[in-house]
Every structure is written in C-alpha cells, then in structure tokens.
C-alpha cells in the first residue's frame, strides 16, 4: 500500500488533469444530463394516464429483445421507472465509460507517452497519478448522480426514486473508474488496458441481459444488473448501493497494491521475448497479425454470448408468466416459435454489436497511419491497393467469422436443450449469416470514413451508434420509414422466423460494393499520414 509520500503531488496533478479535461468532462456530463432531462420531461406527456404506462411497460417487458437490451421495467405503475428505464441500464454504461476514460487517460496513456516519466521525475509520488485520476473520476461520478437526481426531481418524478436512480449512476461511475484502475495496472499498454476494461463491461452487460430474461441470479453478478434490482421506483432497496461502493473500494485497493508492485510503464505481466525473425511477406499477413489477438477475443466473445443467449432462450423468465404475456406469445406461434422469435431478435442486436469489430479494425488501421507506420509499409511495397484490400478484407472476413461464431454458439446453447445441436445449427447458423451483408455495409461505412478522413476515426463509431439508435428508437418515436431505413440492420428480416429476403441481401451487398468503391477511389489519391 502506498505511503503518504507516494501520494505527494496528487493535488497538483488533479489540477493539471482537470484543466486537460475541461472540454471532455463537461461535454460528457452535459450529454448524459440532456438524456436524463429529455426522458424525464418527455415521458409524462407521452403517457398521460396510468393505464397507458402499464401498457407501455408490459409491452417492453413482454419483448425479450428489449428486456435483454434495456432491462425490465420493474414497477409498471411508475412513470419514473418508465422514463429512466433505458438510462438505468444502457446509459449506465456511458457513466462507467467516463470513469474508465478518465482513469486510463491519466494513468496508462501518460505512461505510454512518456509524460508520466517527465512528471514522475519531479516531486510527485508513485501513487499520485492513479490517485489524482481516481479522485477526478469519483468527483465526476458524484456530480453526475447528483445532477441526474436533481433533474428527475425537477421533472416531478418520485424524489426517493430520483435519488436512488442518481445514486445508481454514481455507483456505476465509481465501479467503472475502479475497473479502469485495475486494468491499467494489469496491462502493459493503454490499448490493452482499455480493451480489458471494455471486455469486462461487455461481460457484465451480457450477464445482466441473461439475468433479466432468464435466471435472476446471473443479474446479481453484474454491476449493470444492480440498477434495476435496486427497485428505485418501488420502495428502493438502499442496501444495493452498498454493492457498488464495496466493489469499487475492493478494486481501488487492488489497483493500489498492484501499482506498488510494478514498474512505471510495465504491466504485471512482463513482456516475453518473441521470435528473432519471421516477419510477414504481405500487407495482408501483417494486418492480420496486428489484429489477430483482438480477433481471437472477439470470436470468443461471439461464441460465449451466442451460447449464453441460446441457452437462456428455453427458460424465459418470470416476466413472461403473466396470462397476458403468455397469450401474446401464443399468438406468435407457440413456445418453440416464441423461443426462435427471441433468438432472432437477439441475433439482430448482436449483428450490430459484432460489426463493431469492423470499426475497430478500421480505426486501428487509421492509427497505423497516424503513427507513420503505413508510410513505412508503403515505402517497402508502394502499393496502396494492397493496404486498402488488406484492411477491407480483414474487416469483412472478420465480421463473417464472428457472425458464424455467434450462430454456432447460440445453436450449441439452444440445441443442447431443445431439438438437438445439429438441427439448431441448420437453423441458426444460416440465420446469422443472413445478417452478414448488413454488417458488411457497416464495415464499408467505417472503411469509407477512413479512406476519406483518416483523422476522423470517430466517424465509424458515430455511424454504428447512429444505426443502432435508429433501430431502437425509430419505432418508439414513430420516425418515417426512410429515416429508420438508413440503418442497414433494419432491412434484414427476423430470420429464422421470417424467410431470408434475397432482394434485400443483394441490395445490401450492392451498397457494400458501392461504398467500398467510393472509399478506394479516394484512398487511391489522398495524402498518406
């Protein structure tokens, strides 16, 4: 554990960090608060009487896909629960993310850039950077929770529920920061540290989703499941807040202990020596090698999430036990049909999530260029066509692989309980592949952004988030069909329940080809670096 001198200089660093974050923090917080205000003030107008609210809550609760994505509406009568439902689960990830970004940015990124060495050579203790980052993230989490609660109260929502909801966000922010702190000690690079933390968040989200549609216990294993299990709008179980605090404290202590045991710039795992030679004879082989490890993790994640959702499907939770829900499900075609409907809905969501891989691969290609390595590669081979095709090829082949892995995973999870694995493979793998053309459109959009504006690496992410958001809110907001249709994912039918639309798939493939052609047309002639 650090001593008093280890923390020397924390206050000074904190001031420096706050100055560096003078845009990041306010913007992030403002965006979250805008979401809270919009939901809090708008919901009341949307559902004028209690019967409307109950109907809306039941509608959400009877859709496994919506519950998997946003969590259940615990208190059907409460306008607060309806208004904050999406924010309690999904946007809590954004609060966690802020904690992670602040901590990673001021610890691991600083070490990697060498700036921590510059600062560390002054009268600054070893634990000071970590501590300054944690203090900043902690204060930000408290501010976020307080503001969110205040906005809810101002909108006329139940005061106790508002406070409980705000506190759950503070808790999520603290856990996110503490997770970031531990990951920053374990990994030897900022990129790995970020990936490790995001993977942890993803596992929590998956456990929460499985817990909400299936066995409740799984949801308790995930901090993201605590927000709804707090029952904020229905006589809050205040003790649940202790879980956030307890986990955050444990993780922060662990991070400090780990920090005390490692050298600046190193992770807990020392770098091993690698091969003395070998190398890669083509740009494609090199790009594959650079993305190999990440791809491996993505495949594991796709297999596991597929297996998780597949095995949960036959155990639809108590949410679907009400006579009304059961009637609705029977109308859809009976139990087996319902389970497949749910798998199809989850598949549609996962197709969008898994295409984040293509964005990640493309963004890392843009980083290669920003770090001047693309110039070295081009100076050795000189061929832009090879760089472009390698980048595009791996993004697209990777998404194909991930869709297949998810299909196989869900077939194993579902088929091992209902109908046998071979039969499930025959149904679910082709269903997963039916989403690939839409995923390729997403990949092509990211590649187009890279080809045109190599510095705007966020453009691919922004496109993905927009597509997902359009799909989720389009129907609720009754947006016109052509707006929702901007998202490629909206065009794919709910396979395997619905039939594959050959025309749609061909149109998506054609769009992919057009976008890629436009990207190549620009990449061919633009300046590198």
């Amino acid at each position: 554990m650090p001593t008093a001198t280890d923390a020397n200089g924390t206050a000074g660093l904190l001031r420096l960090n706050l100055r560096r974050d003078r845009v990041l923090l306010p913007v992030w917080i403002w965006l979250l608060m805008a979401m809270v205000a919009a939901s809090a003030f708008a919901t009341e107008g949307l559902y004028l009487d209690a019967a409307d609210r109950v109907a809306a809550a039941r509608l959400i609760n009877s859709s496994p896909a919506l519950v998997a994505l946003y969590g259940p509406i615990v208190s059907e009568q409460s306008i607060g629960d309806l208004a904050m439902g999406k924010l309690t689960v999904m946007y809590a990830v954004a609060v966690m993310g802020l904690g992670l970004v602040v901590v990673r940015r001021h610890t691991r990124v600083e070490e990697e850039s060498g700036r921590a060495e510059l600062v560390g050579a002054t009268v600054v203790g070893r634990a000071a950077p970590l501590r300054a980052a944690l203090v900043e993230a902690g204060v930000a989490a408290v501010v976020i929770g307080t503001l969110a609660a205040a906005i809810d109260v101002a909108a006329g929502l139940d005061p106790a529920g508002s406070v409980a909801f705000g506190a759950s966000w503070t808790g999520a922010g603290l856990v996110g920061a503490a997770t970031g702190a531990v990951c920053a000690q374990l990994a030897a690079s900022a990129r790995t540290a970020g990936g490790l933390a995001l993977a942890t968040f993803a596992v929590w989200y998956g456990l929460r989703a499985a817990g909400d549609i299936g066995p409740d216990a799984l949801g308790w294993l995930s901090p993201l499941g605590w927000g709804t299990r707090l029952h904020a709008w229905d006589g809050p179980r205040w003790w649940v807040l202790g879980l956030y605090l307890g986990l955050a404290v444990v993780l922060v202590v662990a991070a400090h202990v780990l920090r005390g045991r490692r050298d600046l710039g190193n992770g807990m795992l020392a770098e091993r020596a690698g091969p003395a030679g070998g190398g890669f004879g083509s740009v494609a082989a090199l790009v594959w090698r650079l993305n190999r490890l990440a791809t491996g993790w993505w495949v594991v994640a796709a297999l596991l999430s597929g297996a998780l959702f597949g095995s949960v499907a036959p155990h639809l939770g108590s949410l679907f036990d009400s006579p009304a829900a059961r009637a609705a499900l029977e109308a859809l075609g009976g139990r087996g049909r319902v389970e497949e409907t749910m798998l199809a809905a989850l598949l549609a969501i996962m197709a969008a999530m898994l295409s984040a891989y293509a964005v990640q691969v493309t963004v890392s290609g843009a980083h290669e260029e920003a770090d001047e390595r693309t110039a070295e590669v081009l100076a050795a081979t000189g061929s832009r066509v090879r760089v472009f095709t390698a980048q595009a090829g791996i993004a697209m082949a990777g998404t194909l692989l991930l869709a297949t892995a998810y299909g196989v995973g869900s077939a194993v999870g579902y088929g091992s309980q209902v109908g046998g694995v071979p039969h499930a493979l025959g149904r679910l793998v082709p269903a997963a592949l039916a989403h690939v053309p839409a995923m390729w459109v997403m990949a092509a959009v990211a590649l187009l952004a890279w080809a045109w504006w190599p510095r705007a690496t966020w453009a691919g992410w922004a496109a993905l988030v927009s597509f997902v958001t359009l799909g989720e809110v389009g129907e609720l907001l009754e947006l016109p069909g052509w707006v929702v249709g901007i998202s490629p994912f909206q065009h794919v039918p709910a396979v395997p329940v619905q039939a594959v639309g050959v025309g749609v798939e061909l149109a998506l493939l054609g769009t992919t080809a057009l976008l890629l052609a436009a990207g190549w047309w620009r990449y061919r002639v633009r300046d590198i670096g």
Partner: protein, 292 residues
Amino acid sequence: MSNPIEVHGLVKTFGSTRALDGLDLVVGAGEVHGFLGPNGSGKSTTIRALLGLLRTDSGTATVHGLDPWADSVQIHRRLAYVPGDVSIWPNLTGGEAIDTLLRMRGLEPDRTDRDALLERFDLDPTKKARTYSKGNRQKVALVAAFASQVELLVLDEPTSGLDPLMERVFNECLHEHKAQGTTVLLSSHILSEVERLADRVTIIRQGRTVETGTLAALRHLRRNHVRAQVTGTLPADLPGVHDLEVVDGAVTCAVDPDGLPGLLRALDDAGVESLTCTPPSLEELFLDAYRN
C-alpha cells in the same frame, strides 16, 4: 541515363501553408547527397513526395526517371527508406519488423546480411518493439534498409538517437554501400556527418532551395579565414578582405575567393612569418544560408 532523383519547382501546400515553394533537388547516380535545412523547412515533405505518399501541387519530381505518384511500386522496389522518427509495431519483435519490411520488398531475410547487420548494430531482435528505446527503433529501420541492397537509400535524419559507437557503424555501412555504387539522399542536422559523408549538398529554407553544389564549390563561394604573423604593415583597404585586425603583427581577417591572390601578395610584401588559411566549415555555410 537520368539522375536517380530530379526535382524541379516542386510546390506542395497544406491549406494556406506552402510547405514546398518551388523546390529544386538533383541527386546524381552513386553520390551521397546531403539534404540540409532548418526545422520545418520542408525536408520531410520533400522525401514524402519522393516516396509518393503525398501528391504535389505543381512542379516535377522523378525518381529513377519515374513519377513517384504514378509509379510508386516500381520506385519503391529500388529504394529503401529510413524515417527520422521510426515507429514500429509495438507488439511485434524487432526481428519480425525487420523481416516484414524485407519480405514486403520480396527479399528472403535469410539471404540478406540481416544477421551480420544485427550483430554490427548490436540489436536484440527478440525483444518486443514497445520495449525498444528511440535508438533501437532507429536501428531496426537501418538494418532493414541496409540489408535491402537497393540502388537508392533515402535517409531522413537516420542517426538521431544513436550513440557515437553506432554512428560509426552507420558511417561504415554507408561507405560500403557507396563503394557499391548506391545513391544516398541523406537528410541530416549533424553537419559533421554530412561534411564527412556527402559529395554534394542542397540547403533549403522555407520550402525553397538556397544552395546546392559540391562542398568544394560551396566553399569556393564563401570567405576563407586567414591568420598570419607579419613583421611589416598591411594596407587597410585591400579589395575583398573583411574584418581585418592587426595586433602586434598578428593578422586575422576573412577574405572573398577573388580577394585571396591580392591578400597573399600584400602579406608577402609585409614579410609574412606564418600563415593559416581555413576554408569555411559547413556550419558556417549552413548558418549563412539560413540567415540570408
């Protein structure tokens, strides 16, 4: 047979900045050509244009008679490039990075002198690149370039971060390649290095060429420094002689190339006892060219 590098009136703008403003650069076959200029004068931009990484706005540039933009693949097959700030893939080892650069050129690493070069540069190829210091990253790029056996080496401040011992190894390698007829474009700030290695130099400033020629020719344009001990007196207004000072018969002055014969006659007349005449150092040429 055209010159390996010919650049005439090259212009490249980034928004409102003119990074290259009518630059000229000619590098003859088999010569080591020093490419000098202050920070931000356009050296790296020129090199990136020659590699076909940037599209220029006007002027002509050819490498081996080919257009760098249109024929970059053919050009790159015949050159190797060492950037000033080498970045290598952090999760590959140094050895893997070198072999990658060689194999992308179509070379089989085992059939090059890669191993001998690794030994000479004292580089451990099994270490991950992220653990390398700046100097070691530089060595990775140098080994890959020297092992490539190409006709043209483009080196952008290649010795930055190297220790004096390694600088010497670099000089030896460069000499060996020069002896084999390799053409070298050497951008550098280390004037002693350029002075020792370069046959001709080009000095640029603000994207424009201000001086070019052999070192001897450039020197010829500049004043020599003369120190002498005389017994008699010197006339004060000798043509082409500047900053003349005489203290107790000890003479110091700077003299234009045209004024040298006149000065020598005057010194002879004044009964010269000792005489040293120093040509201007590259540093002086450099500072002169920068200031004007």
